[in-house]
C-alpha cells in the first residue's frame, strides 16, 4: 500500500496539478471577448478553495436553469431568472463597462479579466464532473447552452459581431443576385406566420442579409422549416444567426465532453479533486419521481388486472384516455401500450397480472396472435426479455417531449396533443369536468403551453374537498408541489381519496415520494472510479 501511495505522490508531482501549467502567452488580454466558446482549457493555477467555490457558483446557475426547464418556463422567464442569479454568482461585464482609455491596460481590465476567468475555469471544472455519464453530459450541454444563449442575446451588438468573427463558421455570403433569384421563397420563409402587411414584409426582406451554410449545420432551423433550402444549402438570415451559433456551441461542447470522458480514468491519481468533483455531480441531479420500488400495494394486497377499471378514476387524463381507448378499440398502438403499460407497472401491477390485463383488453385478437405480437413486448417492458432493461414509467416531461402521437395513436399528453375542442370534450366525457371556470383555466394554461399546470388544475378541481381537508389537518399548508409524473398523480389521488389506507401504507414505509436521487448508473461509475484509485 505504501508503495502505491508513494508512486502516486511522484506521479502527481511530475504532472503537477492538472489544471496548472505554463501561463498563457504574453501580450494581449487573456479574455478580449465577454463571450467564450470554451475552446481552450485553462492553464493557470487555482487554489482548491477557488476551484470548489467557482464550481459551486456555476452549478447554482445551471441547477436553476434545469428547474426552469422542468417548469416549462418560457425563454423570457428563464432570462429574467438568470439575470438576477448571474449578477450574484457569475457576473460577466461587457467591455463597455469601463472607460475606453482603461481598456488597453491590463490593470484597468483586471476586474473584467477576473470575472471572465471565473466563468472560464468554472466551466471546465464542471466538465470534469459531468463528463462521466451520458445523462450528465446531455444535461450539462443543455443547461450550458441555455446559459450561453442568455449571454449571447444580452451581449452588446458590436462585441457580439467581433465574437462571431472569431468563430470562423463555415458559411458563404449570399450575393444580391442570388437573393433576388430566390426572393419569393426567401421572403415567404422570413415572414411566415407574422401576418405582416405586404409593404412591411418587403421592407424587412430588403434589409435582410443572408448566409449560406450546409443544411445540417442548422438542422434545428430545417426541422421547423424556418429556412429556405436549395441544393443542400440552408439560407440563414442574419437575424437567425443565434441558432447557428447555438448549434455550433452544443456540438463543440458535446464533442469535448466525450473527449473528456475518455481521459477521465487517467486523471485518477488526484485524491484532492475527486471528492470535490464527486460532490459536485451529486448536486446536479434533476428532481425525479421515484415510483415505489417494490411491487406496490395499495391496501396491503397486490394490484390485480381486475382492479384496474376501478382504480382508473385516480388516473390522470392521459392514462384515462388510453384506458378508454383500449376498452373501446380492444387495441393500442406501440407507444400507447408503452406509455400505459409502464404506468400500470408503476402502480405495482406484476408481470403476470399485466399479461392477464393486456390479454383481456386485446380481446379481438386470438391467443396465437397475442402471444406472437404482444406478449414479448410486455415482458420486454418488465425487463424480462431482450435487453433486460427495467423500463421506468414515463414522466410528464417524457410524454410531452418524446414520440409525438401520429395518426391513429392515443398516447401523448391530451393537454398538449389534442385540439382545444377535443380536449374539452374528453375532459367532460372522461374526467367529468364540466365547471366553466376550470375549463377556462385549462384553456389558458394550454395556450401558455403550461400543460402540467392544466393537469394540476384538473387534479385540484377533482380533489377539492380532500385537499381542503388535508390542508386543514396540516394547519393551513398543503406542502405539496406540482405534480410532474402520472404515477405521482395516481398516488396522490389515491391517498387523498383513501386517507386511512394511505396512512397505513406510509407507516409501512413503502410510500413513494418525490425526491432527488442519483441514478444507479452514476453510482456504479463513481465506485469504479474509486476502485481504480485505491
Amino acid at each position: 500500500m505504501q508503495g502505491a501511495q508513494a508512486l502516486r505522490q511522484i506521479r502527481k508531482q511530475k504532472r503537477g496539478n492538472y489544471i496548472a501549467g505554463p501561463a498563457g502567452k504574453d501580450g494581449g488580454l487573456p479574455y478580449p471577448n465577454r463571450l467564450n466558446f470554451y475552446a481552450v482549457p485553462p492553464k493557470d493555477e487555482v487554489s482548491l478553495e477557488e476551484f470548489e467555490q467557482w464550481a459551486i457558483d456555476r452549478l447554482r446557475v445551471l441547477g436553476e436553469i434545469e428547474t426552469c426547464l422542468f417548469r416549462n418556463n418560457s425563454t423570457g422567464e428563464i432570462d429574467a431568472t438568470l439575470k438576477r442569479l448571474l449578477e450574484k454568482y457569475l457576473p460577466l461585464s461587457s467591455n463597455n463597462s469601463i472607460p475606453e482609455s482603461e481598456r488597453s491596460k491590463p490593470k484597468g481590465f483586471a476586474g473584467i479579466t477576473n470575472e471572465r476567468k471565473k466563468d472560464h475555469y468554472s466551466h471546465f471544472i464542471l466538465r470534469l464532473a459531468f463528463a462521466r455519464s451520458d445523462d450528465l453530459r446531455r444535461r450539462f450541454t443543455r443547461t450550458e447552452s441555455i446559459l450561453f444563449r442568455h449571454r449571447f442575446t444580452t451581449d452588446d451588438t458590436r462585441e457580439r459581431a467581433e465574437f462571431m468573427n472569431s468563430l470562423e463558421l463555415d458559411s458563404q455570403p449570399v450575393s444580391d443576385a442570388e437573393k433576388a433569384q430566390y426572393a419569393d421563397d426567401l421572403k415567404a420563409v422570413l415572414t411566415s406566420g407574422s401576418r405582416m402587411p405586404a409593404e412591411k414584409a418587403r421592407q424587412q426582406f430588403e434589409a435582410e442579409t443572408y448566409l449560406k451554410v450546409d443544411w445540417d449545420r442548422v438542422s434545428d432551423l430545417v426541422e421547423t422549416r424556418r429556412v429556405f433550402l436549395r441544393g443542400g444549402k440552408a439560407y440563414v438570415p442574419n437575424s437567425m444567426l443565434l441558432s447557428l451559433v447555438m448549434a455550433e456551441f452544443s456540438k463543440r461542447l458535446d464533442d469535448a465532453l466525450i473527449k473528456t470522458a475518455r481521459v477521465l480514468p487517467r486523471l485518477d491519481e488526484d485524491d484532492r479533486l475527486i471528492p470535490i468533483l464527486n460532490h459536485l455531480s451529486k448536486g446536479f441531479t434533476a428532481p425525479e419521481y421515484n415510483s415505489s420500488a417494490s411491487p406496490a400495494t395499495l391496501s396491503g394486497d397486490a394490484i390485480s388486472a381486475a382492479q384496474i377499471d376501478g382504480l382508473s378514476v385516480h388516473f390522470p387524463l392521459c392514462m384515462r384516455n388510453l384506458h378508454t381507448a383500449v376498452r373501446r378499440d380492444k387495441h393500442l398502438k406501440h407507444f400507447g401500450r408503452l406509455q400505459y403499460g409502464l404506468f400500470l407497472k408503476g402502480l405495482g401491477l406484476s408481470i403476470d397480472e399485466a399479461i392477464v390485463f393486456w390479454r383481456q383488453a386485446f380481446s379481438k385478437f386470438t391467443d396465437d396472435q397475442f402471444n406472437k405480437e404482444y406478449r414479448y413486448n410486455i415482458r420486454h417492458s418488465y425487463g424480462l426479455q431482450g435487453a433486460g432493461r427495467n423500463y421506468k414509467p414515463y414522466s410528464c416531461q417524457q410524454i410531452l417531449m418524446e414520440h409525438p402521437p401520429g395518426t391513429g395513436d392515443n398516447h401523448g399528453c391530451p393537454y398538449r396533443h389534442f385540439s382545444p375542442d377535443n380536449l374539452n370534450m374528453v375532459l367532460g366525457s372522461i374526467m367529468g369536468v364540466e365547471d366553466r371556470s376550470v375549463l377556462q383555466g385549462v384553456k389558458q394554461d394550454v395556450g401558455a403551453k403550461k400543460f402540467h399546470l392544466a393537469c394540476n388544475r384538473v387534479f385540484e378541481h377533482l380533489h377539492e374537498k380532500e385537499l381542503k381537508r388535508e390542508k386543514d389537518a396540516n394547519g393551513g399548508s398543503s406542502g405539496r408541489e406540482t405534480i410532474i409524473h402520472p404515477n405521482e398523480y395516481f398516488d396522490r389521488s389515491w391517498s387523498l381519496k383513501n386517507p386511512d389506507k394511505a396512512r397505513k401504507r406510509e407507516n409501512g414505509g413503502s410510500s413513494s415520494q418525490v425526491k432527488k436521487e442519483i441514478k444507479d448508473e452514476d453510482v456504479t461509475m463513481m465506485s469504479e472510479w474509486y476502485r481504480d484509485t485505491e
Binding site: V222, E223, R225, N377, S381, F418
Partner: protein
Amino acid sequence: MAPHSTGDDDGDDVMHDADAMQADANGVNETAPVKSEDIVVKDELEHMFDDDDDDDEIMVDDASAYRNSTNQTVKSAISNILSADPSDPEVMLQFYSRLFPWRQLFRWLNHAELPSTDFANREFAFTLHNEAYLRYQCYPTFETLRRDVLKLNPSRFEIGPVYSARPRDRKQVPKGSFKPLEKELVFDIDLTDYDEIRTCCSKTKICIKCWQFITMAIKVVDVALRDDFGFEHIMWVYSGRRGAHAWVCDKKARKLDDAKRKAIATYLEIIKGGSQSGKKVNLERPLHPHVRRSHEILKDYFRENILENQDPFRTEKQAERLLQLLPDRQLNEALREKWESTIDRPSDDKWRDIDEMAKSTTSKTLVPKVLLEHKQDIILEYSYPRLDAEVSKHLNHLLKSPFVVHPGTGKVCVPIDTSKLEEFDPDNVPTVMQLLKEIDQWKDPIKKEEDEPSSVGRVSDIEKTSLKPYHDLFSRFVKKLLDAERTVMVKEENLEY
C-alpha cells in the same frame, strides 16, 4: 457452397476469385454458426414498430426453419412441382438461388467493387420460416451472404446499419465501441396510415385507386430530397403489398446522425396529431416553399385521385368532418342545410358547393382569404404524404431489403422507376410463382437444337423473366452510385495532396 444447376444468376464471374479468397480468409464465417443467443423474436423495445405499421400480417406456418438439404430440385418444370403458396420454403429457395440479384446488392451496399467494411460490417437480419428473427448477421462478400441465405432460407431479410466492427463480433469488442456508423436515409410510406381518408380499401387490401396516394407521396418527397436537400441517389422500392420505401444512398445521407434524420423527417411532416387532434394540417402563411411546391403538385391530383376516386365526403359523417375543417360557422350552416336535402351528393359537387355557397352567403365573418387557406389545408390533409417518421429517424432501424419476396402476396419488392411513376401498378408486379413459371416456359429464340449450347452463350435466369427490367433499373442505379463514390474519393485524395 450449395451447388445450383443453372448458371449464375446475373453473370458475376468476375468476382469469383477475389471472392473465394475472401471466403477462405474468413473461414469461420462460411459456416455462419447460428448461436442460440442470436435468435430473438424482437429486440430493442423502442425501435421495433412491429404490429401496427408493418407490412406482414400474414404469418407463415410454424414449420421449423428450412435447411437446404442435399437433394436439389430438378431444373425442368420447377413451377409444376411447387405449391402455389409463395411462403413455401421450396419456392423461396428457388427464388434466392436463381433470381435474386446478389451481385448488385453487394455492389450497392459495398459502394465499390472490392469488398470493404461497408459491406462486411453491415447488419443483415433474417426472418426464418418459423418466425424466429436472426439479428446481427454479416458477410465479407455477396457469395458468403448468398450461401447463408440458401442455407437458412429466410422468408425475408432486412438490412441494418454499417457498424464500427463486424456485427457478429459485437460481444468481443470493448463495451461501448460497437456502434452503428452509417446507414442509408430511409422512408416508409404505408397505406395503413391512410385508413382514415381512403375509402376504396382498408387494412391489407389495395387497389390502383389507393395506390395513387403512394404515387403522390413519392412525387412530393422525391423532389424535396433532391431540390432542397441536394440528394441524388434515391431509390424507391415497392414494399410488396401496400406501400413503398425510399433508400437515400448519397454518402452524406448515410452519415447523418439521428438528430439530423429527425430534422429531415420533421421538415417533411405537415400532418400532425393523433386520432383526436381535429384539424391535422395547420400551416402558417405565407407557405414555406416546400409546402407551396407540394401543394402545387397535389392540387392537380386532388380532383381525380381524391374527390372522384376516393369520394371522401360522401356520407353524412364524412361531410361533417369536412365542415369541421372549414372556418366559418354560417357558411357551414348553409352547406349543411343544402347537403341534408341532397343525400349522396358526390364529394366533387360538395367541394364545388363550398365556393358557390361562399359567394352567395350573407356571412359577415367569412374572409375569402381564410377560406382559401383552409381549403389548401384540406387538400393537403387528404393528399399529402403520411410518412412513418420513426423509421426515418433512427440510424439503427432495419428495413426490408429490395428484391425480397413479400410472404403474404408473393410479390417481389421491386424498385420503382420514378421517371414512369404513373405507370407503376402494384398489380403488375411479378410474383415469385409467376417468375418461376416464366423460367420454365422460356425458349431460346436462337437455339437450333435441343442439346446444343446457344450461340450467344448462356442466358441467365433473370433474363428469362419479367424481373429483368427491374433488375436493369437497379443495376443502373448502382452504377451511378458507384461512379459518384469514385469521384468523391478522387476529390478527397486531391485535397490531401
